[in-house]
Amino acid sequence: MSLNTKKDPIDPKLRNKALINEVLEAYPDKLAKRRAKHLGTFEEGKPDCGVKSNIKSVPGVMTIRGCAYAGSKGVVWGPIKDMVHISHGPVGCGQYSWGSRRNYYIGTTGIDTFVTMQFTSDFQENDIVFGGDKKLHKIMDEIQLLFPLNKGITVQSECPIGLIGDDIEAVSKAKSKEYGGKTIVPVRCEGFRGVSQSLGHHIANDTIRDYIFEKLAGQPAAFEQGPYDVSIIGDYNIGGDAWSSRILLEEMGLRVVAQWSGDGSIAELEATPKAKLNVLHCYRSMNYISRHMEEKYGIPWVEYNFFGPSKIEESLRRIAEHFDDHIKAGAERVIAKYKPLMQAVIDKYKPRLSGKKVMLFVGGLRPRHVIGAYEDLGMEVVGTGYEFGHNDDYQRTTHYVKDGTLIYDDVTGYEFEKFVEKVQPDLVGSGIKEKYVFQKMGVPFRQMHSWDYSGPYHGYDGFAIFARDMDMAINSPVWALTRTPWKASGATEEGQPS
């Protein structure tokens, strides 16, 4: 597939409708009906984006989604740095998710910190036939012996565990008792559960509730509590995102007692129920535990957005609203401090990026949260969608997107190519599986999961990097070279579909 280079000034709503119809025509009828519900156009004033979500992916269409294991081990639990996370089952899941998410941390890896390591039970046929519980017992003993400074263990179930009837809960309980009450968390995040990563987030949240919070019930805080204690929830410290966020909260006078879960530790998880406020970045993956803490401990939570100066400013004030004038003044001080930097960044990059159109397809909070950062640079997001969002995500999205934005839930490879081909954005922001497809088409691309190995993108310091990276992607001289000069414009190689 290739890009159509003609630019027609047409009504985006009409174009989207025609485009969606065109895409659906390629599908078998049954599938077209199913996919039609996930594709639409945002209409100003509507309470959501008019698409269905959090529904099973259709077989055979090249969904971009992952699984519950990815949501638990890969997202929620994996970054907790002083615990050992066992990928329990065959070798692959742990191998493919080993170190690839860029959850930055400080610690001595292999000694007191274990994030970028791959612990697996490497299931063999015998383990499937006879069960893996005995092996799990042995594995935990070996972890205790060889990694004595670990502060806890989680068991991240891969598909076979739930199918062969292993009792990882019993093993975890027995071993915890044997090791004098050590925290050992069995997680039922088998990859076939649910429809995407999303259920894995929920399952992982619930296990923190059941195995960390419940264990501490009634105990006093392990630290001296203060009036300005907050926890950062739902920041995975990709490329250091949580750090460039934490620094702002601290500068405004708050005390961050925990990070969930990027660069997080078990002590921080345990401290969280003693905080005054939970500040929630990735709503999708950690709203569950935030709601629980609100119900159980009376800790309020507030969503924030640290992408781009407009949203950061808004968020700092919203967070400060939960505190006294001291913190409110602190928020204003932080906003004022960074104003010159933000102005300099915008002065430098906005002229180079203004008017550029962006299409996004990402997970978690990013399909909406990054829109403001693009707009700060004068760019426009013309299409967006969620890999594993729910309806509440699409409701929240209405506060960000403009009338006429193309919306695609759980987009298929086929749809995404067609949409980009017709909408002709100046930049696509999605993941590693999509990156090279669009670059081949001559479309600038940034990975918006891993920040394309750059980052951080959160906070004021991160926005400078974000702006530079978007400029680098769009204004790279390489895009002027993709057309072969001796081939007519729009011509395709013989035999290649255009």
Partner: protein, 519 residues
């Protein structure tokens, strides 16, 4: 605040600034309940000892940092080598997201592959409906010439029957009756990615040669002079297969590359996305049955495949990822023997050039100790080359190597005086390797990207050869096979050696007397 619009600091520099250092120190001190520094240091030192090594090697259940992946990854690799072929993995969908990401991170290329997206209901009732719908959808949307079906562990544990499912799907009209849907069961809990490659390669050949799952007559073999070539699971497939084709063409040997992934993972950026590109045509795959012989470059990737080929009456010859002069000699002489063709002067000259390069540089490699890990065939190939260079492959480790492989490596080591004090480790992982590097240090480590953790912990410089290589770009474009491939490996090893010599002799007024301009 040190961030600036003029000179944007990213993660490398930003978090080394004083305000961040202070913040992170406070975080650790106040909220992480840190262990005393001396306790961490004590354990860190202990992990370097023989005592730790002994306990580490006594592990029976736990695997830490393995150097292998699961069967389905190799299954997708093999399937992608055929013209217009869409790999279809029956089972949970997350697996496919992982394989696609894994390959794209290595090759910096798109990887197309679909899943039947099985969920809880499929776990209870079986995945037949997912297969029926999935094949229909894939066929309609992506217009493949062939769909190659393999499995994840989920489908294997519940016992889905691919043969029956595909038949039913065809009866229900998901794809035309005559459409090619070869399949292979590829359980993740048996073998490794090299096993998956073998199973799918065998599955595809068996499909074309032996009656397409009972829907067509078996092919009658009419022997011709062609030679089939199978590369196996290979991170250098793009460069290697092009080099192999060049060699066959120079020798004027008619050949068929079975599983030619050299184009699909190396498509141009010219405004078009090619979902399919190159690959062994389906006709070639079918006609490969008539070939005189089949050469496998990686024995452990093709054990079952070669049995199938041999059963057709072909001669089969297998190598263990040959690298270097003598190994390439054997490879070329086998082609010459099988084809009756001469090895042309051009290749003879290339051989001489590689020998020339080794002679020029061998004094820098001679006697150096290396640790190697990787797939079984790669380990054998690299160990052979190191022996040829007068280096010592002190530790040779393959997580997916078996006892028979270990014996083979032993035999290789025994064949050279440089292999005298060298050891082989089958079924061990990179945490075992860590103990080896501390207790029996070597000069250099050869392995994939994950070796950088060993480099960091033990200070052993890493030479990146293997799969995956995520953190260096474009290595896969350069062959490691043939004499030119040997040259590439030699240069990569030498570059690291020279970089290390420079790095260790660049402190002014201390040791920079050795900071020589000529080496």
């Amino acid at each position: 605040m040190t961030q600036s619009a003029d000179k944007v600091l990213d993660h490398f520099d930003l978090f080394r600034q004083p305000e961040y250092k202070e913040m992170l120190e406070n975080k650790r001190k106040n909220f992480e309940n840190p262990l005393p520094a001396e306790e961490i240091e004590r354990v860190r030192e202990w992990t370097k000892t023989a005592d730790y090594r002994e306990k580490n090697f006594a592990r029976e259940g736990l695997t830490v940092n393995p150097a292998k992946a699961c069967q389905p990854l190799g299954a997708v690799f093999a399937a992608l080598g055929f013209e217009g072929t869409l790999p279809f993995v029956h089972g949970s969908q997350g697996c496919v997201a992982y394989y696609r990401s894994h390959f794209s991170r290595h090759f910096k290329e798109p990887t197309s592959c679909v899943s039947s997206s099985m969920t809880e209901d499929a776990a209870v009732f079986g995945g037949l409906n997912n297969m029926v719908d999935g094949l229909a959808n894939s066929y309609a949307l992506y217009k493949p010439k062939m769909i190659a079906v393999s499995t994840t562990c989920m489908a294997e544990v519940i016992g889905d029957d691919l043969n029956a499912f595909i038949k039913t799907s065809k009866e229900k009209g998901s794809v035309p009756q005559e459409f090619d849907v070869p399949f292979a069961h590829t359980p993740a809990f048996v073998g490794s990615h090299v096993t998956g490659y073998d199973n799918v390669m065998k599955g595809i050949l068996d499909h074309f040669w032996n009656g397409k799952a009972g829907t067509a007559p078996k092919l009658e073999r009419a022997p011709n002079d062609k030679i089939n070539f199978i590369g196996g699971f290979d991170g250098y497939t793009v460069g290697n297969l092009r080099e192999i084709k060049r060699i066959f063409n120079l020798m004027q040997v008619e050949h068929t590359i079975l599983g030619d992934t050299s184009d699909v993972w190396d498509t141009p950026t010219d405004g078009h996305f090619r979902m399919y590109d190159g690959g062994t045509t389906l006709d070639e795959a079918a006609n490969a049955v008539h070939a005189k012989a089949t050469i496998s470059m990686q024995q452990y990737c093709t054990e079952k495949t070669l049995n199938l080929v041999a059963a057709q009456g072909q001669e089969v010859v297998s190598f263990n990822h040959p690298v270097g002069v003598a190994a390439t000699d054997r490879f070329l002489m086998e082609i010459a023997r099988l084809s009756g063709k001469q090895i042309p002067d051009e290749l003879t000259r290339e051989r001489g050039r590689l020998v020339d390069a080794i002679a020029d540089s061998s004094s820098h490699i001679h006697g150096k100790k290396f640790a190697i890990y990787g797939d079984p065939d790669l380990c054998l190939g690299l160990a052979g080359f190191l022996l040829e260079l007068g280096a010592e492959p002190t530790h040779v480790l393959a997580t997916n190597g078996n006892k028979e492989w270990a014996l083979r490596v032993h035999a290789l080591l025994d064949s050279s005086p440089f292999g005298k004090n060298c050891h082989v480790y089958a079924g061990k992982d990179l945490w075992h390797m860590r103990s080896l590097l501390f207790t029996e240090p070597v000069d250099f480590l050869i392995g994939n990207t994950y070796g950088k953790y060993l480099e960091r912990d033990t200070g052993t410089p890493l030479i990146r050869i293997g799969f995956p290589v995520f953190d260096r770009h474009h290595h896969h474009r350069y062959p490691v096979w043939g004499y030119q491939g040997g040259m590439n490996v030699l240069v990569r090893i030498l570059d690291k050696i020279f970089d290390e010599i420079d790095r260790n002799s660049n402190t002014p007024a201390k040791n920079d007397f050795s900071f020589d301009i000529i080496r």
